[in-house]
Each structure stands twice: as structure tokens, then as C-alpha cells.
């Protein structure tokens, strides 16, 4: 779950920095499935290209802002809701003195039915490479349109759809995000000159400072509390964007060059 949820293109640059830092730590621990990661990256780069074209099309139709906002509401609302449910269940179980129930490995019929199955020993998976490829494409499209790392989509997808073990999920998703956000940053700077490097450097500086507080908070707070807190933040952002969509705008007219 790296990165902020702003609608700004500069976020991809910022997401990269946070991601790179954490990914290095996972890499050293052997928590990266390089083969699945490479397939995800391939799909992600294709998806970023598609997403960038879709972005331009929606921009010319004047529907880019509303599309981004609706995707935010749907994804943040869904993910936030799921996180909240899990966190509350974990807290309740803890209070009752039980151990939180461990999840069964996912056996998604859609994934198991795909052809060309291969063995991925790092994750202990026997799946078709088409599954991570399609997942990578979907994440790439969202990265290019929404300016996010895609972590909050790819992490649940790796766990629930591919059935990847949790210890490999974070490292592998960060590994793919670094490459896809780097490619997306390049695409945006070459195609539409929409990377504000000065703003990005200021955000990076803020991110480096803010991360220190995050690390301290993560060490002090119990993980269930932390997840509950994160779920509430995600839901609050979703609610704010949803409210923004329904409230009458202060300006009815907008001017676009060309």
C-alpha cells in the first residue's frame, strides 16, 4: 500500500520513491518472486501504454476528471470496506481471546482454468503466466489513468486471485510498481509534458520526512489498530471524492486549450 491518493501525475514519481525504499528491504529478505514480478511488469508496461492512450481520449472528450473520481470512489470504497471488515473481525477475535482465523489459499476457478500452467517455486504456485499478465495490464491501465502505484489493487489481487503467500505479496507488488511507475513517468513526460519536476522534488522531500513519522507510528501501534486506522482513512477519502461528485460545482464552465 504505497503512495498517496491524490489525482496528481507527480504522485507516480512520489510513489516510486517510497516503493523503492521498502522494496529494497524486501529484496534483501528474499521476499520478491522475480519471475511472477517480471510477468506483472511486462503486463504493466503494456497496460500503462493503453492507459495513457485512454487518458488522452478521455481528456479530449472532457470526461477525464469524472472518470478518475468515479474509479477512486469504487476502488477506495471497496478496498476500504474490505479492510475495515477484516480489521474489525481481527479486533473482535482478539478481544474474545481467540487467534484470528487464517485464510485458506485461494483456488480461483478463473485462474486455474487458464492454459500453459507453469511452476513458480518461490511462491509455491502452479498457475498460467496469463493470470499475472492480465493482472499486470489492469494495474498498468489504472496506474496511467489515476497516477497511483496500483499497490492497493495488486496486493489484494495477488492474495485473493493468484493465491500468492502473504510473505511474497508485498515485495513482489513493490518490485512491479517501481518499474511500472518509472515507465508511466516517462510516458507522461514524453507524451504530454505533464510531470512537474519541481513539485515532485518538493513532494519527495516531504515524503522522506513523513516516512520517518510513519515508521515510528508503525512500531508503536498494534497492527490491527493500524489496519483499522488505514481503512478509515481510505474510506474517508472515498467519501470525500463521492461528495465532490454530487455537490454542485462552483464553476459550471471550464475552458480547455484546443
Amino acid at each position: 500500500m504505497a503512495g498517496g491518493y491524490g489525482v496528481n501525475i507527480d504522485d507516480t514519481v512520489q510513489v516510486q520513491m517510497n516503493t523503492y525504499r521498502v522494496a529494497l528491504a524486501y529484496w534483501k529478505r528474499g521476499g520478491v518472486d522475480v519471475r511472477i514480478g517480471a510477468v506483472l511488469i511486462g503486463g504493466g508496461i503494456v497496460g500503462a501504454g493503453l492507459g495513457s492512450m485512454l487518458f488522452k481520449l478521455l481528456q479530449s472528450l472532457g470526461q477525464i476528471d469524472v472518470t478518475i473520481n468515479i474509479i477512486y470512489v469504487v476502488f477506495l470504497g471497496t478496498i476500504g470496506g474490505l479492510m475495515l471488515r477484516e480489521a474489525l473481525a481481527a479486533l473482535a477475535a482478539q478481544k474474545a481471546g481467540q487467534v484470528a482465523p487464517t485464510r485458506m489459499r485461494a483456488r480461483n476457478p478463473l485462474v486455474t482454468s487458464l492454459p500453459f500452467k507453469m511452476r513458480y517455486s518461490d511462491s509455491g504456485l502452479f498457475i498460467s503466466p496469463l493470470a499475472p499478465l492480465l493482472l499486470g495490464i489492469a494495474t498498468g491501465v489504472l496506474t496511467a489513468i489515476m497516477g497511483i502505484g496500483g499497490g492497493f489493487i495488486i496486493v489484494p489481487a495477488l492474495i485473493y486471485v493468484l493465491g500468492m503467500p502473504a510473505k511474497m505479496v508485498v515485495g513482489t507488488s513493490l518490485f512491479q510498481i517501481i518499474f511500472v511507475t518509472a515507465v508511466t513517468t516517462l510516458l507522461h513526460s514524453v507524451q504530454s509534458q505533464t510531470v512537474d519536476i519541481v513539485l515532485a522534488i518538493l513532494l519527495l522531500a516531504g515524503g522522506v520526512i513523513g516516512a520517518q513519522f510513519g515508521v515510528q507510528a508503525a512500531q508503536k501501534l498494534p497492527p490491527e489498530r493500524l489496519r483499522l486506522f488505514l481503512a478509515l482513512i481510505v474510506l474517508a477519502v472515498a467519501a470525500r471524492v463521492a461528495y465532490g461528485l454530487t455537490v454542485a460545482p462552483s464553476e459550471l464552465f471550464t475552458i480547455y486549450a484546443a
Partner: protein
Amino acid sequence: MSRLLALALIWLACTAAAPVKLITDISQSRIDIIYTFKGAELLVFGAIQYANGQVPDEPPGLAVVMRGPAEPVTVRKKARVAGIWVNTRSARFESAPGFYAVATSKPIAKLVDQRTATIWEIGVDSLQLSPTGNATPAETEEFEHGLIDLRRRNGLFAEHEGAVGISQNILYRARIAIPSSVPVGSYTAQIFLIKNGEVIAQSTSPIEIDKSGFERWVFVAAHNHSLAYGLAAVAAALLAGWGAGLVVRRT
């Protein structure tokens, strides 16, 4: 002697052919936009050179028009669709100036008639925005209104009626405020001398507004060397991540 006489005759002939002349200068012919640019104020000033030096008794009518580069724009209007606000209708204008300000010596309606105002584009409502597409006249007017209203409130379109100061019916001056959000490009300052609703003399001066210093350097890099610019952005991100990793390990 006869040569001098001939020169004097030519001079007289010239002044008779061009009875009134406007002489203009601007406080700045170039505005540099740097990172701390908060807007500027231009002083447009000059003198009216009357035929044979005969200064009239009543004050002259003057209009100072400053305009930026015209560009095609699409104006979109939001409407409520299934509970959310979405851009629904749009109109296209081929020549909307990025900046337009007019200062006049008296109210525009008293200075020029509608026809003259339209010909010389004196006044925000007389701008020729060149609408295209198949919108009805009423719709075109609605979007034109929206465009003008939005630009007015952003300070990009402005009318300063009565803001041209005149001394001794010869000297004139006008201050025009340039907001910080002004687009870059080649601008012009046009000065119109108006009598009985007609333009009887005019002069035009160019003004360049351009990014400068660090701002310009970044702009040029982003547009002319976009791949290197993108790589630099990625490198900055990776470097910051590496640096943050070092800090985290120490604490």
C-alpha cells in the same frame, strides 16, 4: 534656400495627409515570468500630435487595448446526470485571446458605437471569438458568456472604463494590471484615438511575455528534452528512496 523650402513643403504635405498622430511608449516591452512572479503592472503612455499643433478644447476619446495570443479553446458546461456533475455540452471557439484588457477615457458605450466597437474589438463583449460547430446562436451566446465570465473572474479579461488619464488634452497614460496566471506569448498594446464614435488614429506596440530563469529552463527541458527530463524525474525518485532508506536504517 529653395531646398529648405521644398523640405518644409513636403513636411506640410505629410502633416496634412496624416492630421493626427499617436506617439506611444510602454514602461516594459518585455515581462519575464520567474518562479516568484506575482503579476505586473504596465504603464502605457504617450502624446497626441495634432495637425499643425492645434489642440482641441474638448478632451480626446482614447481606448488602450492590450491582448495576448489567441488560441482555439473548448468550453464545457457541467450538468447533473444521475446525481453526479458531468461535462455534458461544449462549444468550440477558434480565437479566444488568453488575455484581453481594455482601458478607456470614458464609458465604452459613450466612446464608440456598436459597429466601431466590433470592428476594433473594443470591450470584452465585442471580442470576435469565432465560434465553430453546429450550436444554435442562443447556445453559442451561452458558452461565450461562460467563457468571458470565467476569464473575467480570473483577471484574464478586464475592462477599466475611465482609467485612461489625460493631461492638457495631449498627454495620456493608462495602467494595465497583468495577473500572475497570464499565458506566455507575443502581446500587443493598441491605442485608439476616437472622435465622434470613429477611430481617427491608432498605434500598436509589441510586448513579449515569456518565462525566464529557472522557470524557463525547466519549461524548455520538459518540452525539448522530454525523455531526459522524464529520466531525471525517475532518477530523483530513486535517489530520494535510497536516501530515505539510509536515514531509516540509522534511526
